[in-house]
């Protein structure tokens, strides 16, 4: 399981995977539009997203929109397609500058991403733009290997990360599978009213 070569990945060439290379949101060559973010209990958040063609025009536009929407949302470090009402396996992440981040890959978008290795599980309290009034304690792997496709080029990538970026990736991959952090909270007393800060 941990080598990620079983199941649907069987037969894929490990050597085909590379890092982000010189990919940036600008390489999408589309100006993203800010989309409205939906909140639970919207049904799109509880539905597994569809696999996408990373080179399709609509995927590229969606990727650009996710980046644009993430950038205008204060404190947002990741946004998945279901959060803007699209049941697709696409998400954007950017943990740049976050105090808990260790490894940082900058701003990127992944399509059809899946976790291939997850180790060193650690508890943490997380919130979500689509569940604005609650937070919860969730265990996430702090060492993570993820594979997916870059929008636009469709290049297969393999990202190795840790800490906060790993947590963000798992949260977004969950969104693409129709899962919220609420589906993974540690127990009956591990969901909290989100506080209104001073």
């Amino acid at each position: 399981m941990s080598d990620g070569r079983s199941g649907p990945d069987a037969g894929r060439d490990v050597e085909a995977y590379a890092g982000l290379g010189d990919w940036t949101p600008e390489s999408l060559a589309v100006a993203g539009e800010v989309r409205a973010v939906v909140s639970a209990p919207h049904p799109v958040l509880s539905r597994a997203g569809d696999e996408v063609d990373p080179t399709a025009e609509e995927t590229v536009r969606l990727a650009a929109d996710l980046v644009a929407t993430m950038r205008v949302s204060p404190g947002c470090v990741g946004l998945a397609a279901p959060q803007v009402g699209v049941a697709a396996r696409v998400f954007a992440v950017d943990v740049t500058g976050h105090p808990k981040a260790v490894t940082v890959h900058g701003t990127f978008v992944l399509c059809n991403a899946r976790v291939v290795e997850a180790t060193r599980w650690k508890p943490g309290r997380e919130g979500c733009m689509s569940v604005p009034d609650l937070t919860g304690d969730v265990k996430r792997a702090s060492r993570l290997v993820v594979e997916g496709d870059l929008p636009g080029t469709g290049a297969a990538v393999r990202l190795v990360t840790d800490g906060f970026e790993a947590r963000a990736l798992q949260h977004e991959i969950d969104h693409c599978a129709g899962l919220l952090f609420l589906d993974r909270v540690a127990g009956a007393h591990a969901v909290y009213q989100r506080k209104v800060y001073l």
Binding site: V77, R125, C128, R167, A188, H189, K195, L198
Partner: protein, 170 residues
Amino acid sequence: MNELAITVIGRDRPGIVADVAEVLARLGANLTDSTMTRLRGHFAMTLICTGPDAAEVETALTPLAAEGQLLATVRAVTPDGEVAPAGEPYVLAVHGSDRMGIVAAMTRVLVDAGGNVTDLSTRLAGSLYVVLAEVELPSGVAEAVIGRLHRTAAELGVEVTLRPADPDLL
């Protein structure tokens, strides 16, 4: 819209939550926030619901208490207005040999610093006493509070930690 605070306490058995929830649903009472746990084997549930008036709910819950094993109370409460802005969130953990006054002394330190306990559970297991609390503290006082908690804990012969519990928005 009536807002009701209901408590159900008594000998635990399977089915109490379902029984209570069924009574409320039948009356058209909407269960909002609730918490339930077992305290030394006793069933303990506190919940807020909206809908019917208190007397009607109390009457409907009476059969549950008929065998004398459960006590249900119902009272109308006023919905909270604007919630005051919260302080910084922390989790307080205390453990050590059981003795009188641990909760009193430790929470007094928090209150004196302008803090507020928003969630609390305590457990006695053998001679080990454990306190866990969600706490909000005014900005900038945490370090001083930690010092005071340690002094108080030393007097009581228990261990204490206070750690930040701020969530990461993802």
